[in-house]
Every structure is written in structure tokens, then in C-alpha cells.
């Protein structure tokens, strides 16, 4: 635990890159991600006297960031549409055809994954997960994180990104399928 306010301020500042990275993953806009990070750090410094260490500092900061990012998305006067360079490609699930045979059965055996346990394993896992999230197409990542991180209701996401409920379902499916595949190669293959 930090012993002085200055220590705490230094500790908070240390997490700036992590917060910025997460904000950028969601917002896909450097200025907006910077704003979210800045607002989070300021709110954390102001709220520091109330930080009681019940959660880890990082968890507390990420929770503040989450609220700031939601505020930024809701504050936008008009929906920001991220136009995918190939809109149809992001909705195309034939990319997963190779995973299944003609009868819709998995084409290859699945390795049994275990949760990473040691610090070394966990560091390695989250590094791969982060890389896999970064590799998702921008709109897919935005939609996916709006559900999984921000936990926004589906109808709000549909309205914000101007996509139908059906397309939202496909984007979320694609994100989950791609992440599993990416981890299968990047982490399980380590």
C-alpha cells in the first residue's frame, strides 16, 4: 500500500499506458482515448483519499475509466459511425467454414485449455489476449467491448453504431470465434 499521497499519485500515473490502451481499444480514437485517460487520472487523484485499498489500485482505475468511456460515448451529440473498409467482410462468417466439416462438425480435435495460474502464465496469457483484441476489426472490437466491458444494452449499441440487431449478433459471434481461434494459435501454441 502507498504510504503517502505522492506515492499514490505516482502509482496512479504508472497505469496511464494501460488505461490509454484499453480506452483506445474501445473508442478507436486517439483524442477521445486521451480524454478518457486524462479524466480518469484526474478523478482518481481527486478520489484518492477515498481509495481504501479494498480493490487493487488497477481495478479501481479501470472501473473509473469504464464510466468515463461510457460518458464519452453517451456525450457524443451524434452517433459516431466507424465505417469498416469492407463492411461485408465483418459480417461474413464463411471465414469459419474451415473449422467445420460439411455436416457442421468440428473438423479438428480441441485441446483442453486450463486457466493460466502462475504469474508468468497469466502475464503471457493476457499479453496474447490483448494482441488478439487489437487484431479484431475496429467495428467488431468496439461492438464486442461495448457488450463485454461497458455492458451497454444491445439496443443502445445498435443505435450508437447504426446496425441492426441481426448484424450485432453476427459481429459478437465473430468476435468470440476469432478470439478463441487467435488464443488457440497464440497462447495454446506457446
Amino acid at each position: 500500500m502507498p504510504s503517502t499521497a505522492l506515492d499514490l499519485a505516482n502509482d496512479i500515473a504508472r497505469y496511464r499506458p494501460l488505461l490509454y490502451g484499453l480506452a483506445l481499444l474501445q473508442l478507436r480514437d486517439k483524442t477521445a482515448a486521451d480524454d478518457a485517460t486524462q479524466e480518469t487520472l484526474l478523478a482518481a487523484l481527486e478520489g484518492a483519499p477515498r481509495f481504501e485499498g479494498r480493490s487493487s489500485l488497477k481495478t479501481w482505475l479501470v472501473a473509473i475509466l469504464r464510466h468515463k468511456v461510457i460518458d464519452i460515448i453517451r456525450r457524443r451529440s451524434r452517433p459516431i459511425t466507424v465505417h469498416p473498409s469492407r463492411p461485408e467482410a465483418e459480417l461474413d462468417i464463411s471465414a469459419f467454414d474451415a473449422l467445420f466439416d460439411a455436416r457442421g462438425c468440428w473438423a479438428s480435435p480441441k485441446d483442453i485449455w486450463s486457466d493460466p495460474e502462475t504469474v508468468v502464465e497469466r502475464v503471457a496469457f493476457f499479453k496474447v489476449l490483448e494482441a488478439c483484441l487489437t487484431k479484431l476489426p475496429p467495428r467488431t472490437a468496439r461492438v464486442f467491448l461495448m457488450r463485454e466491458w461497458l455492458e451497454l444494452p444491445s439496443d443502445e449499441i445498435s443505435a450508437e453504431l447504426k446496425i441492426s440487431a441481426g448484424n450485432l449478433r453476427v459481429l459478437l459471434y465473430r468476435a468470440r470465434m476469432q478470439l478463441r481461434l487467435c488464443l488457440d494459435v497464440g497462447w495454446n501454441g506457446l
Partner: protein, 67 residues
């Protein structure tokens, strides 16, 4: 899915994703459970999705080790 017939491995991946968006209907839950019980490949795949969702949840809460 529109009927209660047997489902494919590929169908199960849709249900695994949909289950994070909405409560599955009883018929869907049953079809999913029955298929997974009889399919070792799907047991492996659904285990992979479980690990993915659990670890993603930790990551998005900042519950990660400091590298």
C-alpha cells in the same frame, strides 16, 4: 434455430455466443446440453470458450498481474 431437432457443432457455437446476450430458451438449453454431452470436440471447444470468457472478464476488470 427454428426447430427442436438435433443441432450441429457449428450451431452450438452460436448458442454459446447467444447465451452471453440473452437467456436461452429451454429447448435451446436442452439441445446444447445434449449435443455437448455426446460430442468430445464440443466439450473441448466449450471449455475453451469458458476459459476465454473468464479470463476476458478478469482482463476487463483490471485484474491482471503487473508485468
Amino acid at each position: 434455430m427454428t426447430d427442436d431437432g438435433p443441432i450441429t457443432c457449428r450451431d452450438t457455437t452460436w448458442l454459446v455466443s447467444d447465451a452471453r446476450e440473452r437467456p436461452l430458451a429451454e429447448s435451446e438449453k436442452k439441445a446444447l446440453a445434449e449435443h455437448i454431452a455426446s460430442c468430445s470436440l464440443c466439450q473441448g471447444a466449450s471449455r475453451q470458450f469458458e476459459v476465454l470468457f473468464r479470463q476476458l472478464g478478469l482482463y476487463l476488470k483490471g485484474e491482471t498481474p503487473d508485468a
